[in-house]
C-alpha cells in the first residue's frame, strides 16, 4: 500500500500545470489539418496519427480530467495490463540498465526491427553514476530502498511502467507495455533496475 501511495504522489508531482487553451476551433477542423499533414505517411504508420480514446480525452481536458473521467481512463488502462507468463516480475537489472539508456526504436528513421529502449534517463535520474539524466519525470534514485522492496511495490512498479495511466490518468509518461513499445520481459528488467537490491539505483 505504502509503495502504491508513494507512486501516486510521485506521479502527481510529475504532472505539470498546463495553461488552459482557449477553445476557438472545432476539433474536426484540427483533425482535418492533422490528416492532411500526414497524408504521405505510409499506411502502416497512419494509426499513430489517429488518437485513441485516452489520448483524445487527455488532449481535450488538457491532462486534467475531473475525478469521474479519471476513473474511467484508469479502469480502461488497467484492463490492458498483461503480466509475464511465468509470473516473475523482477528480471535482470543489468539488461534493465541497458534498456533505460537506450533511446532508439519506433522513430521513422530507425531501421525496421530496431529493438526499442525505454529511454528512462531522458526524463528520470536513476543510477547515481549516470549524470546525463533529464528532469521531466521525478528522480528515481533509491527507488526500491524507499519502498522497502515490498512485493506490493514490485507489482505497482510493473504496472506503472506497463501503463502509467492505469494509476494516474493523463500522466505524461508513455504507456510502454500497452502501446507495445516494450515487451513484458523488458519491463521486468526495468522493474529489476528499480527494485533489485543489487541494482545501482538502490546503492
Amino acid at each position: 500500500m505504502k509503495g502504491a501511495s508513494l507512486l501516486a504522489v510521485l506521479a502527481l508531482a510529475a504532472a505539470p500545470a498546463l495553461a488552459q487553451p482557449s477553445p476557438k476551433v472545432d476539433p474536426s477542423v484540427v483533425e482535418s489539418y492533422v490528416k492532411s499533414t500526414w497524408s504521405k505517411a505510409p499506411p502502416d504508420w497512419q494509426s499513430r496519427v489517429v488518437q485513441d480514446e485516452t489520448q483524445r480525452i487527455c488532449t481535450q481536458l488538457h491532462n486534467a480530467p475531473p475525478p469521474a473521467e479519471a476513473e474511467k481512463i484508469m479502469a480502461r488502462e488497467r484492463a490492458t495490463i498483461v503480466y509475464p507468463a511465468d509470473g516473475k516480475l523482477i528480471g535482470d537489472w543489468q539488461k534493465g540498465e541497458r534498456a533505460a539508456q537506450n533511446g532508439r526504436g519506433g522513430q521513422f528513421n530507425d531501421p525496421p526491427d530496431t529493438a526499442s529502449g525505454g529511454n528512462c534517463y531522458a526524463c528520470h535520474q536513476m543510477a547515481p553514476k549516470e549524470i546525463s539524466f533529464g528532469t521531466l519525470g521525478p528522480p528515481l534514485v533509491g527507488y526500491g530502498k524507499l519502498r522497502d522492496f515490498t512485493p506490493e511495490a514490485v507489482k505497482a512498479t510493473y504496472e506503472k511502467i506497463y501503463d502509467a495511466q492505469a494509476s494516474f490518468a493523463c500522466s505524461n509518461m508513455p504507456r510502454f507495455g500497452a502501446n507495445k513499445v516494450l515487451t513484458p520481459e523488458q519491463i521486468t528488467d526495468l522493474v529489476a533496475l528499480l527494485m533489485d537490491k543489487d541494482s545501482p539505483v538502490n546503492k
Binding site: 498546463l18 489539418y33 492532411s36 504521405k40 496519427v49 488532449t59
Partner: protein
C-alpha cells in the same frame, strides 16, 4: 573555394566526442560541462557573418533568388513574400501570413514553392526532394530561407493575425501543440510546456506561452546546426521533433506545420531575429 566547413566542423566534433569518450563515464559530468563550454566558445567564434557557415547558405540563396529558372525563365525577384513583389526586408519577420492570391496562410517555404510554381513555372519535384540538405546534396530551400530570413535580421517577429484564416491557423497550431498521439502519447507540450526542464542534459524551452525562451528559440531560426553541419529551417526542426515523438514524418510544407509555426511565432511576438544563428 577550398574552405569546406562540413569537413572542418566534422573534425572538431569527432575530436570533441573522442575526448569525451576517452575521459570515461565517471568523468562525464565534467567533460559535458567542458564540451558545453567549448561549444559556447565555438558558437561565439562562429556567430559573425564571416565565420558562421550558415552565411555560405545565405550567399547561395542570394544567387538562387536572382537566377532565371523554370519554363518562364525568370528569377524569383518578382515573388511577393507579403511585403510586396521582390521586397525582402522584414518579410520573414511577418511570416507565416495569409496570401490573397493563394487563398491560404503560408510559411516562407510554402510561399517559395508557390512562387517557383506560379512565377517561374518551375517543376518543384526536385526542389522538394532536396528540401533538407545532406553531405553532397545542397538544398535550394535551406539556402533561400537563409538568405531571405537574414533580410529580417534585427527585425522583431510580428504576426498580425488579422485575417480569419490566420486566426484559424493560430487556433489549429495551438491545438496541435497540445495534441497527444502515437506510441509514446507525446505532444509538443510534453517537453515544451514548463520552464527549466531538461531531456538528458539538453534544456527544453517552454514554447506553450509567451516566454523569454520562446523568443530566444523563434528568434534564432533558421540556424546552422553544428551537429548536422547544415543550415536548418523551422520545417526541419518540426520534422525532427515529430521523429522523436515517434510520429510518422509530417508532409513538407503542409498546412499543419504552418499552423504550428504560427502558434510558435506568436509566442515569440516582439523577439528580435538574429539569423542565421548557430546551434549545437
Amino acid at each position: 573555394m577550398q574552405f569546406h566547413p562540413r569537413t572542418l566542423i566534422g573534425r572538431l566534433l569527432i575530436a570533441a566526442v573522442a575526448i569525451a569518450g576517452a575521459l570515461g563515464s565517471s568523468a562525464l559530468a565534467q567533460s559535458d560541462e567542458e564540451t558545453e563550454k567549448a561549444l559556447e566558445k565555438y558558437r561565439q567564434m562562429l556567430s559573425d557573418p564571416f565565420s558562421n557557415p550558415g552565411y555560405l547558405a545565405v550567399d547561395r540563396g542570394e544567387e538562387l533568388w536572382s537566377r532565371k529558372r523554370g519554363a518562364n525563365n525568370v528569377s524569383l525577384e518578382s515573388c511577393d513574400l507579403g511585403e510586396g513583389p521582390g521586397k525582402l526586408e522584414g518579410a520573414y519577420a511577418r511570416l507565416p501570413r495569409f496570401f490573397t492570391d493563394a487563398g491560404k496562410v503560408m510559411d516562407l517555404e510554402q510561399r517559395l514553392l508557390w512562387c517557383m510554381e506560379t512565377v517561374q513555372k518551375l517543376d518543384t519535384k526536385d526542389v522538394i526532394a532536396r528540401r533538407f540538405s545532406a553531405p553532397g546534396r545542397d538544398s535550394d530551400m535551406e539556402d533561400l530561407v537563409a538568405f531571405i530570413a537574414n533580410k529580417s535580421s534585427g527585425r522583431a517577429i510580428e504576426l498580425a493575425l488579422a485575417h480569419p484564416k490566420e486566426q484559424e491557423a493560430y487556433a489549429v497550431g495551438e491545438a496541435m501543440f497540445f495534441r497527444r498521439s502515437a506510441i509514446m502519447d507525446f505532444s509538443c507540450a510534453t517537453c515544451h510546456a514548463e520552464d527549466g526542464k531538461r531531456i538528458r542534459l539538453q534544456a527544453l524551452p517552454d514554447l506553450s506561452r509567451p516566454t523569454k525562451a520562446a523568443k530566444e528559440t523563434m528568434g534564432s531560426w533558421p540556424t546552422y546546426r553544428v551537429s548536422q553541419a547544415a543550415l536548418r529551417t523551422m520545417q526541419h526542426r518540426l520534422w525532427d521533433c515529430y521523429r522523436q515523438m515517434r510520429m510518422p514524418a509530417p508532409d513538407y510544407a503542409s498546412d499543419g506545420l504552418t499552423a504550428l509555426t504560427v502558434f510558435l511565432a506568436k509566442q515569440a511576438e516582439g523577439a528580435t531575429l538574429d539569423v542565421p544563428s548557430i546551434k549545437r
